[in-house]
């Protein structure tokens, strides 16, 4: 715990962390200092001058808060007239060459410039001269579209490519009010994190070609979620909206700060993986090729399971701990084999030393913790013997390593519980549609052993059933996620004290020294 110091803001005493810059230190106690260029991930630059605060008896008396460490006894002036005037003046200057095209700007509604204008200014414009003309709709690459006129030159994007991705595609060219963010000629953005630039841009200068003009942000419901694109478990916002007469759709994912997991950013693939939640979804229940009602499908599912001599259940490494536990229980109930074989979702060499992992499954650690066998050998052996494969959303053909398994898989009767229409499931005798991760909640353990809780974000008009619910309909005892936990706690030593509702926001780092102990 860092040392706390007492200082005064507008004469009022507050206790804050020593040495932290004033923006961050005072934020903790609920005091906002307006700023454009400072970003906790990128550090202080001091160019926007919006965070200038007064230091009573200080030398110098006027300092940028982002570059000023909190010190004992400091007397910070925020509401003094001369500080308020600076905020007015800086906003007026930021706006003097700004197009003020909020009605057609994607950022409107979540724009720092707009918000600050409403909070700190509301002045009438005194612009009696022509603004500077700069580039519009510039394709910077990686789906980043730049509007130079809206830019406040805070250089967050430039610093992102220098400090975070270390690719340095962006720079500020020219001087004075002709200064602008640009790429080198013919050298567009080329990194797998570029769309974070859109998130960190405080104004509408950086927009995403994927999101542009698709939705006004104030319509979006912003729920917290966890990306299931790989085993990192990056924290995200799931921004979704049900347009009138339409279904609840996701419009974008955005990075959500979690310093223990992903820091401030997410990768572009993860960010754009929301498309998969919207598209190519399995919505129909099918039995032997014919479309049937869901209940009828479940009925057929139960009777096939009952008559199967040797059923084998296959779990996806994307499932939550609760789903895995429920399936494990149902496998016991029906005397079925259970496998978590999912090597296809590992893409060796695809990961990097930052956020992207080789393993594209969100909860492989969960399979390990619950002691579910995931080896290819045992899956192959069990599959040879089995007369029925019940596949819980495991895409064996995510990559091509299982192509040689196709004839064997085709020769077995298959029941597919799946969220998406995939080639693997086409030939299944019974297809039961199920929810995808934005439509259910639960806990997952990322590749680093951090246990995280996420909640249901999206409710479809025809809301698909969670795997948990499907196991209940098959006669299982786990009626909801909470009901899974007494069993999980009892079986897995490292999880024995976990109360899912009490998992902290940044996740719970599991002590890897303790071997998982799995009961029957």
């Amino acid at each position: 715990m860092a040392e706390m110091v007492k200082l005064f803001v507008n004469g009022q005493e507050v206790a804050v962390e020593q040495g932290k810059n004033l923006i961050d230190a005072l934020k903790v106690v609920g005091i906002e200092i307006p700023h454009f260029c400072y970003h906790p991930a990128l550090g202080a630059d001091g160019n926007c001058r919006m965070c200038l605060v007064g230091i009573e008896d200080g030398r110098p008396p006027l300092v940028p808060a982002c570059k000023t460490p909190a010190m004992e006894g400091m007397k910070v002036l925020l509401d003094a007239e001369h500080i308020k005037k600076i905020q007015h003046d800086v906003l007026e200057l930021e706006l003097i060459n700004h197009p003020i095209d909020c009605p057609v700007c994607d950022q409107a509604g979540e724009c720092t410039l707009q918000d600050y204008y409403m909070t700190y200014s509301l002045d009438d414009s005194r612009r009696g001269v022509e603004p500077v003309k700069k580039g519009k709709r510039m394709d910077l690459g990686c789906g980043v579209v730049h509007d130079q006129e809206r830019c406040v030159l805070c250089a967050r994007c430039v610093r992102f490519t220098r400090q975070i991705t270390r690719t340095g595609e962006l720079g500020i060219v020219n001087r004075s009010d002709e200064a602008r963010v640009a790429i080198f000629p013919g050298k567009p953005l080329d990194n797998r994190y570029a769309l974070n630039i859109v998130d960190i841009c405080p104004v509408g200068a950086m927009t995403s070609s994927d999101f542009r003009f698709r939705q006004r942000v104030w319509f979006l419901k912003k729920d917290e979620g966890i990306c299931h694109g790989c085993s990192k478990g990056c924290n995200i916002y799931i921004d979704h909206h049900r347009e009138k007469y339409k279904d609840d759709m996701i419009y974008r994912f955005r990075a959500r700060t979690n310093l223990q997991v992903n820091g401030y950013f997410i990768c572009d693939e993860g960010r754009l993986s929301y498309h998969r939640e919207n598209e190519n979804r399995q919505s129909q229940t099918r039995v032997d090729g014919g479309v049937v009602g869901f209940e009828e499908g479940i009925k057929a599912f139960r009777s096939r399971l009952d008559t199967a001599r040797k059923p084998l259940m296959l779990l996806s490494a994307d499932c939550t701990l609760e789903q895995m536990w429920a399936v494990k229980r149902i496998a016991n109930l029906y005397g079925a084999g259970l496998s978590g074989y999912s090597d296809a979702s590992v893409l060796p060499g695809d990961g990097d030393d930052y956020l992207i992992q080789d393993d594209k499954a969100a909860n492989r650690k969960g399979l390990e913790l619950l002691g579910i066998d995931s080896s290819k050998e045992s899956f192959m052996a069990a599959l040879q013997d089995a007369d029925l494969l019940v596949n819980f959303n495991n895409d064996l053909f995510f990559s091509n390593i299982n192509d040689e398994l196709r004839p064997l898989l085709d020769s077995k009767e298959c029941i597919a519980v799946c969220s998406h229409a995939r080639k693997l499931f086409e030939k299944a005798a019974i297809i039961i549609p199920t929810a995808s991760y934005s439509e259910y909640g639960g806990t997952i353990v990322n590749g680093d052993g951090v246990l995280q809780l996420f909640r249901k974000a999206v409710t479809k008009n025809d809301d698909p059933h969670d795997i948990l619910e499907i196991t209940r309909l098959l006669g299982g005892a786990i009626v909801d996620a909470a009901r899974a936990w007494p069993g999980i706690r009892q079986s897995v030593a490292v999880l024995s004290a976990v109360q899912p509702e009490q998992i902290p926001a940044e996740g719970l780092k599991l002590q890897s020294s303790e071997e998982p102990h799995v009961g029957s």
Binding site: R49, K67, I86, D89, L93, L153, D177, E178, A179
Partner: protein, 426 residues
């Protein structure tokens, strides 16, 4: 009135060549230098009262003493030869006429501060000057005044001539350091100050060419000999570049403390063509203008200038005669600083362009009195709200013209502009 301390060899033919300079006393202080301790040298410079000749006038010896003691990092010296302030043309004389005086000064400074790697940062536009300077450095190396053993003593000193790419802002200490490091020349936030965290994050002293070139005289003759010239608080001599509407524009070395009008009359031949004086820019374009009335009581030293609410600056004196259109002068002035604003800080980046457009609007007859008030307000809104003082270098003189010559701006403010209806009210 004129004296020849710094300019002693300026009139000697080919004094930029080592052979000639040496025949006239160059590098003679080195023997004395190495008998002294660095602390003694620093004390001598402190006692001389030499003040930074780049414009700010900060005491040179005191600046040196800000270097942290007992550091395991190297200390650097950067000699600021980015002379870019309009109306300033003193350093180029040293670079061209007597570069060895500066190199000798560099050796003295480096010995005092414990520096073994010095940079001479010369502005990009000094194309012919850099050739002479580089040749002088090369000659000094060949003669053993620079290199592994300076003057045969156990003291290494390497000097690198670094050319800028032509940016006024690179004369600002920290922008200069950024530029040497190969980055875009944009000032750094202070603190930390360069004496603690400077070039390549190491302690660094940045001194102006003329400050450095003043050192050989001080070392050879002692602090008291230097103090014979100038005033108590502004000792020594200064190279003054007098330009504008005078009969004899040029570079003159004068002791500090001389009456301004006397200098203009006696040294520069007075206002040309028998015209009347309208104003005097005392020390480069960024210093507030003096009216003829104010000029009567000003002397050429830091204290007198400050008492008259202007600055001594760089010694670049510009005389304005009665024909000067102040509004056009201000347009010229703002367009320079607007062009040279590095674009880092919001107030300077956006504000100077706005001010320029307002002045252009006035000149076009489209502006009103409210535009003059807006200009005054913008000066206040921009000044000192930025990382460096470039914005103030523009707003301080502009404010002085607006205050002292407001009637000229008002003459441009068209009546029709004031009479325009305010559409917002309807």
């Amino acid at each position: 009135m004129e004296v020849k301390l710094l300019s002693a060899r300026f009139d000697i033919k080919d004094a930029h060549l080592l052979e000639v300079a040496k025949a006239h006393g160059a590098y003679e202080t080195l023997d004395k230098l190495f008998t002294m301790t660095p602390v003694q040298v620093m004390e001598e410079v402190k006692n001389s009262g030499l003040r930074g000749r780049g414009g700010a006038g900060f005491p040179t010896g005191v600046k040196w003493s800000f270097l942290p003691k007992n550091l395991d990092k190297p200390v650097y010296l950067a000699v600021n030869s980015d002379e870019s302030e309009p109306a300033t043309f003193k350093d180029r004389y040293i670079l061209v006429k007597d570069p060895h005086m500066m190199i000798e000064g560099i050796i003295i400074c480096c010995y005092a501060i414990g520096c073994h790697d010095a940079y001479i940062y010369i502005r990009g536009e000094y194309t012919s000057q850099v050739k002479i300077l580089q040749k002088a450095v090369d000659e000094a190396y060949a003669a053993g005044y620079l290199g592994a053993a300076v003057g045969g003593k156990d003291f290494r000193l390497d000097v690198t001539v670094h050319r800028g790419a032509g940016a006024y802002i690179c004369g600002e200490e920290t922008a200069l350091l950024e530029s040497i490091e190969g980055k875009k020349g944009q000032p750094r936030s202070k603190p930390p100050f360069p004496a603690v965290v400077g070039l390549y994050d190491c302690p660094t002293i940045i001194n102006n060419v003329q400050s450095i070139a003043s050192l050989p005289f001080i070392l050879a003759n002692g602090a008291d000999a230097y103090r014979v010239y100038g005033t108590e608080k502004s000792p020594g001599t200064h190279l003054f570049g007098i330009s504008g509407h005078v009969e004899k524009p040029g570079m003159y070395e004068l002791p500090l403390g001389q009456p301004l009008l006397e200098v203009i009359d006696k040294v520069a031949g007075g206002v040309w063509k028998g015209r009347k004086l309208k104003g005097i820019i005392p020390g480069g374009s960024s210093t507030p203008v003096l009216t003829p009335e104010e000029a009567k009581t000003v002397t050429l030293d830091y204290e007198s200038m400050a008492a008259h609410k202007t600055m001594f600056g760089s010694g670049g004196i510009v005389v304005l005669d009665e024909t000067v259109d102040i509004v056009k002068l201000v347009e010229n002035l703002i367009s320079f600083y607007h062009h040279e604003s590095c674009g880092q800080c919001t107030p300077c980046r956006e504000g100077l362009g706005w001010m320029l457009k307002i002045v252009k609007k006035l000149l076009a007859g489209d502006g009103g009195r409210e535009d003059i008030d807006l200009l005054v307000e913008l000066c206040d809104n921009i000044e000192m709200k930025t990382v460096c003082v470039l914005s103030a270098a523009c707003t301080m003189p502009v404010r002085s013209y607006l205050n002292k010559f407001r009637h000229e701006f008002e003459a441009y403010a068209a009546e029709k502009a004031s009479a325009k209806p305010d559409l917002r009210e309807e």
